[in-house]
């Protein structure tokens, strides 16, 4: 079995927002049979943690030039566009 894909979830302070997003992604991907390993960090920490990450999901802008796919979204907080974002995440993780 393939090792789980690594998703780095970022927000401003890595206190609350990223945890809401991380929990939602974990739940949604589990429901789709995709194993994920989720890490959380501040947006400013993303460049130093990017190496073995498959996908970055952030609620706030992250530094440019990461060489990994980045999805910036508030959908897990506001509900707006949530199904689209989940589908996007699924596509990246199945790729």
């Amino acid at each position: 079995m393939a090792s789980p894909k690594v998703v780095l979830v970022a927000c401003g302070t890595a206190v609350a927002t990223s945890t809401v997003v991380a929990n939602a992604i974990e739940e949604e991907m589990k429901a789709r049979g995709i194993a994920v390993s989720i890490r959380q960090c501040k947006a400013t920490e993303v460049p130093s943690l990017i190496d073995d990450v498959d996908l970055v999901v952030s609620t706030t802008p992250v530094p440019p030039g990461l060489k990994k796919p980045v999805i910036t979204t508030l959908a897990f907080l506001t509900g707006i566009g949530k199904e689209d974002v989940i589908a996007q995440i699924e596509r990246h993780l199945r790729a």
Partner: protein, 157 residues
């Protein structure tokens, strides 16, 4: 109601508040939490500084956007929430795109003292703002009882 009632003191609710800037909102609500002994004196300035660089406005696609200012755990004594509503919107920046300005009618100031622990507080706020009409009901509340009624519909025991 458990999550909101656990964290939100009625004395930290300000209805039909007036403020010109996010900073004024944070001073108003942070002052309430400080008076209740929930946060250290450093809290207010820390939230103001964070809001300036990492804003917390959440666009809901209506005229009733919300903001959820917060900061690092070391400024917090006990996990708490403060709530303000505004008849005249306060302009916050969008969390996702700080260049975009959002008229905000409801502000939840969050005091979180342990990373990843008070997740249910933001989770509950997220569920509330996703319920159609809930933010409008909150913004229109004239009494604390009406606030609880607006919050209660999404809360779970």
């Amino acid at each position: 109601m458990s999550t909101f009632s656990r964290f939100l003191d009625p004395q930290a609710i300000v209805l039909r508040a007036e403020a010109d800037t996010p900073e004024a909102v944070i001073r108003l609500l942070g002052g309430k939490l400080q008076a209740l002994g929930r946060v250290h004196p450093s809290f207010v300035e820390a939230v103001i500084a964070r809001e300036a660089t990492m804003p917390t406005g959440l666009p809901l696609g209506t005229a009733f956007n919300v903001a959820v200012p917060h900061t690092d755990p070391e400024h917090v004594i006990a996990p708490s929430l403060a709530l303000a509503t505004f008849d005249t919107p306060v302009v916050f920046s969008n969390m996702e795109d700080p260049d975009e300005k959002l008229p905000v009618r409801v502000v939840f100031l969050m005091a979180l003292n342990e990373r990843k622990r008070q997740i249910e507080m933001l989770q509950q706020i997220a569920e509330t703002i996703q319920r159609p009409g809930a933010v409008e009901a909150l913004a229109g509340a004239r009494t604390v009882d009406e606030v609880w009624a607006a919050l209660d519909q999404t809360s779970f025991a």
